[in-house]
């Protein structure tokens, strides 16, 4: 049993790494599932059981984390940042950002503190906002 879980976990991590590498590209569940040799439905179900949230939600948090980084550390406009992290509409970006962070992108920019002085991948993992309980719902 354990070996099967290990194998499954490693596949899901491989898919998650692929999303980390290419977070600004459209989410292609079919391609990710093919990459790790499982069906799409199995991929979504297993990813959620492994990491506590769906691939779609993981990618949203990754993109919002990258947008927070750009809001903090660059002068780029909110619209530019929206497209740079992979959202295709400003409305969806603003709604998703507020849902996850609790503030609008502009409010966040005004209140953001100093740049994170840690390796970027480390910062990416730790400054990624939580899903306010949604991510914890592995059982539900």
């Amino acid at each position: 049993m354990s070996r099967a879980v290990e194998e499954s976990n490693r596949r899901m991590l491989r898919a998650r790494d692929a999303m980390d590498r290419a977070y600004a590209r459209p989410l292609d569940v079919a391609a990710l599932a093919r990459m790790v040799h499982v069906s799409q439905a199995h991929f979504i179900r297993t990813f959620r059981a492994t990491f506590g949230e769906t691939p779609h939600r993981y990618l949203q948090r990754r993109r919002v984390e990258r947008s927070m980084f750009m809001l903090r550390e660059t002068e780029r406009s909110v619209t530019e940042i929206c497209f740079a992290v992979g959202f295709t509409s400003l409305g969806t970006f603003s709604r998703t950002f507020r849902e996850i962070v609790g503030r609008s992108p502009s409010e966040y920019r005004r209140s953001a503190g100093a740049p994170v002085a840690a390796p970027s991948c480390f910062g990416m993992a730790w400054t990624r906002p939580s899903s306010f309980g949604e991510a914890g719902g592995t059982a539900g």
Partner: protein, 138 residues
Amino acid sequence: MFNAITLSQIFVTDQDEALDFYVGKLGFEVKVDQDLGFMRWLTVCVPGEPGREILLEKPGPPAMDEGTASQVRELLAKGATGGWIGLTTDDCRKTYEELLAKGVEFTQEPTERPYGIDCGLRDPFGNAIRINQPVQVD
């Protein structure tokens, strides 16, 4: 009080495969590879830097029971054991290209940061590795 950090540890699920990766692909050197009977003591280091070793440890009995070892392996496989290694290089982009050609799986492409150019990769077991080309201070 202390002089140096000399030995760090990460878990690997297969020490031969770990050698293929850390020595064969990343270019580390074996510092010690010794069968202690109860376990295989396997450490690697960066060539020319023997003062700092990384122990590639296989989780299992008798150090931990099989149930615990299996939990460790499951966490490791999903990248959640917490261990990671930071390496420095003279040329991050070149290193990235060379390792990519060897089939190494990256989590992040080389990225410009205030402290240097860095990228991230994953070992075959789930451990994270960072490679940084520090900013030159003249």
